[in-house]
Symmetry: none
Subunit: 461 residues, 2 copies
Amino acid sequence: MGKGFDVNLQATAAVNNSIDRRLPDTLDRLARLIAQPSVASRGEGMQACAELVAGLLEDLGFNARLMPTSTFPVIYAEGGSGDKTLICYNHYDVQPEEPLELWESPPFQLAERGGKLYGRGVGDDKGQLVSRLAALRALRDVLGEVPCRVKFVIEGGEEIGSPGLPELVDENRDLFAADACVWETGGVDYKDRPTLTLGARGILYVQLSVRSLNHDEHSGGAHIVPNAAWRLVRALASIKDGQERILISGFYDDVRPLGDIDRGLFGKLVEPDVEAREKEFLGIDSYVQGRTGQEALEAVFEPTANICGISSGYQGEGLKTVIPAEASAKMDFRLVPDQDPADILRKLRIHLDQEGFEDVEVQFMAAESPAVTPYSDPFVQLTAATAEEVYGSSVAVHPLTGGSGPLHAFRHYLGVPIVTLGVGYPEGLAHAPNENIRLRDFILGTRHMAHLVQRWAEEEV
Amino acid sequence: MGKGFDVNLQATAAVNNSIDRRLPDTLDRLARLIAQPSVASRGEGMQACAELVAGLLEDLGFNARLMPTSTFPVIYAEGGSGDKTLICYNHYDVQPEEPLELWESPPFQLAERGGKLYGRGVGDDKGQLVSRLAALRALRDVLGEVPCRVKFVIEGGEEIGSPGLPELVDENRDLFAADACVWETGGVDYKDRPTLTLGARGILYVQLSVRSLNHDEHSGGAHIVPNAAWRLVRALASIKDGQERILISGFYDDVRPLGDIDRGLFGKLVEPDVEAREKEFLGIDSYVQGRTGQEALEAVFEPTANICGISSGYQGEGLKTVIPAEASAKMDFRLVPDQDPADILRKLRIHLDQEGFEDVEVQFMAAESPAVTPYSDPFVQLTAATAEEVYGSSVAVHPLTGGSGPLHAFRHYLGVPIVTLGVGYPEGLAHAPNENIRLRDFILGTRHMAHLVQRWAEEEV
């Protein structure tokens, strides 16, 4: 306490002032970044966006460079000084903007309406990145320098499963060496409490395809002519039963049982009105299998088999009487500790063969391993404490998020604890039309980032 | 025998001579009809084509008039005289000509190359109609009059499911009253044998749709957020099992067992080399359930549940991790005697409700009832006998075709036996680019029509 504490309080106030004062400039940077499409799934605008991001880091006084991967370049940047090293993972790629007609303003144009910022990537993940940079800029303004070493690893393939990123981290363990990691995502929950997420599920993304014929045929022959759509429907139905149990042999073998600490954290997250609000937002009366309360929350520790899309035959207006020659489905399996995507892929192929679906081709598209940081980790504890200070609210700690990311590489190759913080909120429509963030969350998330870095740098090692 | 037989032979020769002599004029009429586009699916040229057809009938001395329907006019025409009345069903609409670039000559311009006539509708159905008219004209040339009453019902909506036609027939039972019916289609098979088809399956066409959410969601929530694609897959899988058995309760209740006569007819149709040729054309090693030979042919008397198309979620390149909010499938059920499409629609709804798929909406799109004429019918026997005389070949009698058409209205409202005969052949590319018929089939089909009418008119009632 005493003098040091006062100095810190004054510095924090100054940092917050700087964040506020520079907000127009910060939003201008965000607008430039949103205006540069960077749709990884179709490879649009990736190099241009990478160069734009590198430029934003150079503006901050960081050394930035592009590291090639098999797909799109990773921006690596270093700056700041101090005994500790923080590594920040972000991504500059975004989800496809379709369906375009549902956007109320153009997706690649930052728009402000009613205290919200709209645009593809504004929440996921360009807004998060710009917020991090704004926090570090404010620290430099007030303290003369960012008070710890900061390394940015900003990839261009997050939305397509981060191809090559784990290998890049593995090959650059020395270059990327750090003491802690701030992940790309974060924000507040329905109660406006800051959220802290301690892990992410893994993922296996595949396309199942079947061809039954040379060409679509008149459906008058359906009693003898094989139908690709029917084959696919049967193959899909064999993967999961009506009670959500995945039927692939050995699928659950490596699922780690839920521990008491995590169960306790889930207990604190139960909010019936939040659940009701989420259901209203989704337009549903109940979750699958009627799950509710703590059971629904803890289900994030169960792996899933999800159909992302199906396509076969005639999909236009009116009617066409055909037997489709081809059918395909995209699927993601969300994996929990300690499942391994390569193992699950192998088991899926065996399952289809055993069920008589040798004709259903499995095309591997992406994989990531699950990863978690324990709640007891000191950096986790500091992130939670600083969040409480900035937001004036308790922190909602999520032991695991339902989504996925390349956390595994950072957690296991670099050995760092990983925390989340940021500018998002639950109705931000990430991946959907009218993706948005709230301006107040943007400011608070930026303050939290600055405050965490400042406090961490000051602490005894 | 004796004199009458000789006279008939002489008359037949004279009729054939007349058909040959008038061939250039007949082809000129066909050329005018082909040159008038009449694409029902986009409503192009329908009124003009109807008037042109009415003009061709007036040229033949028939009284022709247009009868309005909810879509395109039906041409109704009467002519000839005698104790018996024949009704001819044809259609003047054609399939869309796309893809245009695959046509070797313009689709709406009759072209003759290598003994074949090319053009949209030349086989389906304008060539068939012009052949019928040429046959009747030759009979008038030789006999002074068409020797029976002939009524033409020529619709403009066959390629879009004959909307309103059954109701029109129902409402005009007295006007359309007849003793027998010649259907729009027919010709020879791969072995150049004349074919005679005794019925068509019915059809129920529906779209199944399910909405599980307000909007597509990030697939990280798949452990609790309902997925429309999964709902649809499960609903579809509940409709038919892996052995092609349709699981809708009561679905097979009204299926008439295959009779010995039909079984005998199928026995005569078994042609291993034709089956091999068809499989090669389809690019398959075997039919569904390994059916082959007579079993594969007889399976046309089994109803089908066919998926024409499925659409849900992300279908683009690469990957997108979403939970689809909506999913839909188009299905046709081909129905056999004595199934009723309205009954099947009701049973489908009950099935889905019973299986817990109240959320799957069933949109009715089209229906036609099955209809067959027994092989023992005298008009069928006469059609087969006259075909053998004209073609000098045995007749391939098909008890049922896998496709559907508005036969039911004629068979059941008018009570007439229905036969097929005509100018087509298996590689005529109906509905496809370079639709064609062979000139020799056109002449033989025209002779057969004339010969059938002449013989039928002479017979004792």
